[in-house]
Amino acid sequence: MHLTPEEQATGRRNFLRAVAGVPVLAGLGAASLARGPIAGGPVRIGYIGVGGEGRVLLGGTDPAYAHVVAMADINPAQLALADAVLEKGGHGKATHYAEWREMIQKEALEGIVIATPLWMHTEITIACLEAGLHVLCEKMMAWDIEGCERMRATARRTGKVLEIGYQRNYNTVYQAAHEGIVKAGVLGDVFMARLAWHRNGNWRRTGDPPAANYDPSKWGYPTWEHLLNWRLYKKYSRGLLAELASHQVNVSNWFFQAEPEAVIGTGGIYRFKDGREVDDHIYATFEYPGGRSAVFSTVESNAFERNYEVFYGTRGTLLLQGESEAYLFEEGAATPAAARPTGVEVQPKAGGPALSASESRAADAAGRAATGSAAGVNLDRLAAYRAEVSGFCSAVRTGAPLLCGPDRAIGSAIACITAVDAVAGKTRLPIRVGAAAQS
């Protein structure tokens, strides 16, 4: 979403006023009745899947929280790249495996981080939980609803930690926006949210196999192309709804404190007719209780809008852009840039500021170069990944509460899986009511 520099400055200033004094929630949420230190060093973890997303998480792994003992990936080239990430992060060497089952059998691990193609999430997560390991699984939770429910049931039965990797839950911008604006009622009644993730490029990746005779067929990928571009094939992926929308639906579920009851979808493969099986343009409206809707769109043909979530209320509008920028506008002002008086009492900074200035990020989530901000609402979005991995380790070691456990993550997953079918049929489908509450 494009704003003038004046609108940006005003929006940032309004946001900071509204959230002033809201403590960063991670620390508060971890409060516990227990006192005194809890014995144990860094959590001994293994990584399964160290491709692009896995390496982002690996780079966000603090050695004080986790000792990366081993890594498994069917692509040896990814393991070599992951070694460099480990070294840069101040970690020691980790043992390499091609087979994740061999890794969890041979290594004395406590936790696993899973960042594999979507279709493997359920099988690996359940096997790790059954082996007595705690699991941080990348989003989306699973390829199908049944897989999500099996994962949650296994975590409950084994008593092990299961966290799903929606890093926005660990992002201080989102935490402050929820506590200081949405929950505080600054927006008034919100009936509509707009979720957009627009890009102008081909999702198809290019690259050489790790060796001329590399054969991934024994892992379920008939060719190197199927492994390299697993996101484009229905067997492995749920397309843009899983990879992009599920992040944003997770936010609308969080901010609406509800799950959608139905979804209307349409879309198709309109631009890249290159043999891919998943859509490159998708439009879906998620209907929430109380007449509220979240309207999602993703296009692969124009990046003007980039990616954002907007919550339109009767008294104000909240814009969260690129996982790192936040703006608040008063509804009904003469111009969008008009300043509004804050509706939130500014409290002393005893708990520390909710936000602090940072221009450290090089690009936002849409890949666009970050722009400067005198008001300083921009945050290093990679910090959310670091907080996510550290939060997982804290949960393992101390029982600190999860910010995105299966009960929260399953709502977004079920909505987006249902949306895949709605888009395919260009129709409206009901979403299983109370999905998150079911056992």
């Binding site: 971890a30 516990s32 230190p37 101390t398």
Partner: protein, 179 residues
Amino acid sequence: MIATRGQGVALVVLRTLLGWHFLYEGYYKLVLPAWSPAGAPLAAWSAGGYLRGATGPLAPVFRTLAASGLAGWIDLAVPIALVLVGLSLILGLFTRRGCQGAVLLLALFYLAAIPLDGVPRPGAEGTYLLVNKTLVELAAAVVLLTSRTETIAGLDLLRGRRVRAAQRRDLVDQPKVNA
């Protein structure tokens, strides 16, 4: 000599509180590395930083210790000594030795960081000149050492009865020289 019952009770309470402080300080250092209840990792404890930051006339000695091969031994010995002193004072067992250990440890801690500048130090919760909480605790330990609280309460009372009973048995069993 204990003048009143209240004085005796107060001294035993003081001994117990001092003992708990020692015991928990030692336990905490031994259990590290660990995690805070809020979920933050806590690094392993080392006396190195304290010794390297020593002030006062004995500072060179402490800094030499920190740089010596004894550093690892000190990291283990200090928490164990704290735990033993703490248990001794709480239980009233080998109380005199416990009080002596407390005085020795507190004297070392005080000498390593004598507050000479009289301004707040980073991380400290108060402002001190010569007299700080360590010195006050040291004085309390000296009071306990000289008050013989093991004669008021504690396992030393039981130990003393057993020793005296054994001594009486020895006297009875001795052969009569003039018989």
